[in-house]
């Protein structure tokens, strides 16, 4: 998708192609790494084809590190990052759809391929629940989120949708992959309570923006923004379907060297924690980028907090460090009231000042007497 694989001359310089060769190599394909320097962009993308490690491993890592350290030195901070190609009307990436289609039946196997997502619920459900409870004055015991309407975008097999439904909310889960929704429907059908509270639809967010404008108390986009093509449009749509003062919850992966090394190389290629090809580093979003897009759409970011996965124990933990996974809570501005209340406050202040001005001469006179 990010087709632009131009090997700029300056770009190509750092990276050496590690070709086949050497007596013991098992590689059928060469390990090719290329850096692409796109003009007018100070962002770098790296495309590393999954390959087999041969004895050039150390050289590969060294050149890789060298590349990144060079990149960091010349990269300038805080450059508003825009995507090259954003001409598509949809935010759904067909390549991603294919990847997820292959795993559509494996959602509910808690020890299977989606195990890390199951255990991530231990973090994200309390995160959503606690932030929403702040807005509810008296909540019902046993159904703390009763009365809330939530939209789960990219719900997959319903891993996050079901807990939210159990907590009493009415949830609509949407996903572009048909098989995912089928799996989710089937799974919730066994529980009569959930069956009534949750509704699933096969569609993308843009398709329902019109009919569901300003209807949701909360929108959840967990592990989704790193799979969409057009992040700005996506977040715009999220904002449109939210009620004023509604909450947007996003969990995603940061775009850093560490997230490349651990999130792609280690997790996908070495340890197999995440199926190969699930993530593409180019699409990762940094919290700063996310925050700037959210702010420009009228959402104010309340919390950004990092999440860490321990592959040995299988559990997630909150962390100060957002360089890998992180969660964000943003609130849509409450619009109409604010300008008015500011005016009144201002008026009130001027009135007070005038009143003080009136009394002061009186005081002075008395003192004089």
């Amino acid at each position: 998708m990010w087709g632009g694989g131009k090997l700029g001359s300056s770009g190509g310089w750092f990276l050496r192609v590690l070709g086949p060769g050497g007596p013991n190599t098992k590689a059928a394909r060469p390990l090719i790494s290329s850096a692409v320097y796109v003009k007018n962009q100070l962002s770098w993308m790296l495309q590393i084809k999954p390959g087999v490690f041969n004895e050039y491993r150390t050289m590969w890592f060294k050149s890789y590190r060298m590349t990144f350290s060079y990149l960091n030195r010349i990269k300038s901070f805080r450059y508003p990052w825009t995507r090259l190609y954003s001409t598509s009307q949809t935010t759904v990436d067909s390549g991603e759809v294919k990847t997820f289609l292959a795993l559509a039946h494996k959602w509910w196997d808690e020890q299977g391929v989606y195990a890390p997502l199951h255990s991530m619920n231990d973090l994200r459900v309390p995160f959503i629940r606690d932030n929403l409870l702040k807005t509810i004055p008296n909540h019902q015991p046993g159904k703390p989120l009763f009365g809330m309407k939530i939209l789960d975008v990219g719900c997959g097999g319903g891993l996050l949708t079901e807990p939210l439904g159990r907590l009493g909310a009415s949830v609509i889960g949407i996903d572009p992959v048909d098989e995912n929704i089928k799996t989710a429907q089937c799974h919730k059908s066994f529980d009569p309570v959930l069956d009534k509270r949750i509704e699933y639809r096969v569609c993308s967010l843009e398709e329902i923006v019109e009919e569901t404008a300003e209807t949701f108390d909360a929108v959840v986009a967990s592990e989704v923004v790193e799979h969409v093509i057009d992040l700005e449009t996506f977040l715009q749509c999220c904002c449109q379907v939210l009620k004023p003062s509604g909450s947007l919850f996003i969990t995603t992966i940061n775009k850093t060297q560490l997230s490349y090394a651990l999130g792609i190389v280690f997790s996908e290629q070495i340890a197999g924690i995440v199926p190969k090809g699930t993530h593409t580093w180019e699409k990762f979003v940094s919290p700063e980028t996310l925050e700037s897009i959210l702010e420009s759409n009228g959402l104010s970011v309340q919390t950004v907090v990092g999440m860490l996965y321990n592959p040995f124990s299988g559990y997630w933990h909150w962390s100060e460090n957002t360089s890998l996974n992180y969660a964000t809570h943003a609130v849509k501005s409450g619009v109409q009231e604010h300008p008015m209340s500011a005016e009144f406050a201002f008026k009130g202040e001027t009135e007070e000042l005038q009143a003080n001005a009136c009394t002061n001469p009186a005081v002075h006179e008395e003192l004089k007497k």
Binding site: W108, D109, E110, H118, S119, N121, D122, V125, P126, R129, Q140, P141, G142, K143, P144, E162, P163, L164, G165, R166, L167, C186, H187, F190, D191, P192
Partner: protein, 438 residues
């Protein structure tokens, strides 16, 4: 596709219970969960508390009492009857060594409550929450259908239970609380490490010769097994005597007078003492006295028994058991279904209450996180927490039982010195008491 059949009633939690009392927790996070309790026995309605004390009693630790009071059952027990004890003396038949447990401020160390009283208190409390908990008496599950390990499109992911009368239920979580011959455990195919002790326990209700304050629990280790006297009232105590099968049979069938004599001499006689051990014991006691001159526990004698309550002598066999796994997907075992212990430490029912407390806590957190109650992620948390505690206690109890089952001199010496040393080290005693009070 669900198969056609009698209408399925679906529950969130289903507990299968044998005669031993268990209870359901009341917790605000379980507010809209449906709970079903299957009780094998009949409903026990106690119109009036009977004059005679029952012979089956349990020693309730302060931790268990806290649990019972957290959902209101302890108040019912207080309105009926119970006995608090403040000291416990444990001593050897083969030597002078003894250990005395008490709390510094003479707080209650534990409570002796009849099993019938506990059952009645729980039944009363269940009636109070009958809108959320359904109890089916005289019901026994005859078939369990477990969910597939791999989520499949057509099969239900829940546990299905068929009762003797043909009705079926489906539930997200099945709790097996059905005693040491647990049907749930067997049906789930969970391995159980167990062996029988060559001992049976004889229980009886005894009348003391004279009324005393009776707030001390007594236990003496005889070579044939421990004998314990637990206070029930100023004039009554409960006897638990673990001994060989033959001796137990004799005890139950002999005359009342002979039985009373046997009990008294078991507590009072010094026939098993040997000079060698006495001297060795005295030596260590002297050394301890030098180091810690202040606290000297002199051996006290339990009150003498005058007669035994007719028809209260019963015996039951003893054994040890421990389930290899406490949980499986959508199944959890608690109490005697998971572990069975020798009564010498008075910990059996308290371990069960500890299991309940832990499971309720894990389920409560899971419910507040919107989790499926039968999910292994929090069930394994319960299993780890309880297995660590229970395995230690089971091993310690088994070790004590074996250590005190002999009168061979080297072992007697070892245990004499061990007991005296433990008695001298107060922090160690406090640790033991704290562990047992949980």
């Amino acid at each position: 596709m669900r198969s056609q059949g009698p209408p399925l009633c679906s529950f969130d939690v289903l507990a299968s219970r044998a005669a031993r009392p268990r209870r359901q927790r009341y917790d605000i996070h379980f507010h809209d969960k449906k709970i079903l309790l299957l009780e094998a026995g009949p409903k026990k309605v106690l119109e009036k508390l009977s004059e005679t004390y029952s012979n089956r009693v349990s020693s309730i630790s302060p931790g268990s009492a806290t649990l019972l009071s957290s959902f209101g059952a302890w108040d019912h027990i207080c309105n009926m009857r119970y006995r608090a004890f403040r000291r416990m003396q444990v001593w050897d038949a083969c030597s002078e060594a003894l250990i005395m447990f008490d709390k510094d401020n003479l707080d209650d160390m534990g409570y002796i409550v009849e099993n019938d009283v506990i059952m009645h208190a729980l039944t009363k409390q269940l009636e109070a929450v009958s809108d959320r908990v359904t109890v089916l008496y005289r019901s026994k599950a005859i078939r369990y259908t477990w969910p597939c390990p791999f989520p499949m499109a057509d099969s239900s992911p829940w546990v299905h239970i068929t009762l003797g009368d043909g009705s079926t239920f489906q539930t997200k979580l099945l709790i097996g609380a059905d005693g040491h011959n647990s049907g749930v455990r067997q049906a789930a195919g969970i391995q159980n490490v167990s062996w029988n002790y060559d001992q049976s326990a004889v229980v009886a209700t005894l009348y003391l010769s004279e009324a005393t304050e009776n707030n001390v629990a007594w236990q003496r280790f005889l070579p044939s097994g421990p004998i314990a006297l637990l206070p029930l009232s100023d004039t009554l105590s409960s006897l638990v005597w673990s001994t060989s099968h033959e001796h137990a049979a004799q005890l139950v069938s002999m005359d009342e007078e002979k039985f009373v004599d046997a009990v008294n001499s078991a507590f009072w006689s010094d026939a098993d003492h040997t000079d060698f051990i006495d001297t060795a014991g005295a030596m260590l006691q002297y050394a301890v006295g030098l180091l810690k001159p202040t606290k000297v526990s002199a051996r006290q004698l339990p009150p003498s028994v005058a007669r035994v309550d007719a028809k209260s002598r019963v015996l039951f066999p003893l054994g040890l058991g421990h389930a290899a796994e406490y949980v499986r997907p959508r199944v959890a075992l608690i109490g005697d279904a998971a572990h069975r212990v020798h009564p010498l430490a008075g910990q059996g029912v308290n371990m069960g209450f500890g299991d309940i407390s832990s499971l309720a806590h894990h389920l409560s957190t899971a419910a507040f996180n919107g989790k499926d109650l039968g999910s292994m992620s929090h069930l394994t948390g319960y299993e780890t927490e309880r297995q660590r505690h229970n395995t230690a206690l089971l091993a310690a109890t088994d070790l004590l039982k074996r250590l005190y089952s002999t009168s061979a001199a080297p072992l007697v010496l070892l245990r004499t010195w061990g007991l005296q040393a433990t008695n001298a080290v107060s922090p160690l005693k406090e640790q033991i008491m704290a562990f047992a009070s949980k």
